[in-house]
Amino acid sequence: MTSHFRTILAAAGVCASLAAFQPAAHAQGFGGMFSGFNMNGVTQDEEETSTVITASAADIDLEQNIITLIGDVVVDDQANKITCNKMTIYLEEDSADTLVGTADKPAEKAAEKKQEKKEEKPSAVKADGKNDQAGAKKDEKKDENNASKNISKIICTGDVVYTKRADPNDPNGQDQIAMSEQADYDAIKEVIVMTGNPVMMQGANKMYGDRIEILIKEGNRMRVINPKVYYTGESFLSSPGSGR
């Protein structure tokens, strides 16, 4: 009977834990951390609170459209924090493909684009030395280059720790922490997928699974896919007869 009671208590603890992992209303969100600011209709206050990412070093590859931040990478704002050893940011041309989320390989896209531009090159060469034609070509080039690049995905690797800070107005609030070997942020789907021994924690509660998804569109709701093991605190773990 006592064993059943403990089981019920454990189940209640798990339910409480799951409820606690629901997003706090004040959370800015992981996407908000990366976005810095959205130029489309945000307030001045939002623009001025751009999140700064710090790192030991950076590699910027403008041909491949890949930016890599290396060593002690930290993204921190008032509501969220992520740390990792390496962060790779992928850019891609803004196109119809981007909107439907089918472009997965920005480097290949860039190569294709470059090839297209090369095929257009002969007309530009002819413009040399002819001011009128050069002016017209200049305008064409401006239009062509106005097809700007956007961040398509960000991959964090090595000791990834994501922290969603507790609501400061909630006296019982606790930080939610997710750790994994890798975190993939899809800017189109607005979801972060943490893989590689992911674990989610809040206080003494831990939850393991195949992966952890952070749904930015749903206010950074975190969910564990295929949860395997969970603990519900020190008292349960240390209590006699728990089987551990």
């Binding site: 990412i53 070093a57 910027i60 930016i67 001011n131 700007s148």
Partner: protein
Amino acid sequence: MGFRARKIHALSLLFLLAAVLGSGVLLTAQDISSGSYTVLKRYIYPRYNGDNEIQYLVYGSTAVNKGSLIYLTTPMIDIVDGSYTSIRLIDTIDAKDPYPTPYKLGSDGAVLRRFWNSTHHKHSQAWIFAEKATFDKSTNILTSDEPAYFRSRQLDADGIGFDAFNDRKFIHIRSNVRVVLRLRGKALELEEPAPSTSNKGVQQ
């Protein structure tokens, strides 16, 4: 040495430097002094790739050429996007225009739009600013130990020291990196077109 002789000497040095720089074309050189090295002031140095496309433009207040190295003061590297085969296709910063300066990290949208909507930056993929840098003509690598400021439509980065491998548009920022990302870089160009005359690319 008479005035005419000095003038001829200075001109010959200019041609010598132009030859040494290889495929680069020196478009602006307001002052040349003679000696064991050559000094250029207010220069523009375009660099082309194997396909005869402009990879980048280097602007700066002073360039001192010593052997295979060129020592640059306040260099500004304009990394060109697209396949421009002639500098005439680009709105370069002329002698009468003030040089641009890097806007602060995390600047608001108005500042960003003013910078990137400038006619001098429309063609740009990115800009790099530094106090000093050294260009090695033999390797085509630009290096600096000084604070560096990388600006692009998608992200801005500050750091200490950089190595720019210009042939492949690759920049390594060595330390103390601080980055601000923008997920919707395209909006920079779509919002509030900047006036073309009042905006000479100077920011705060």
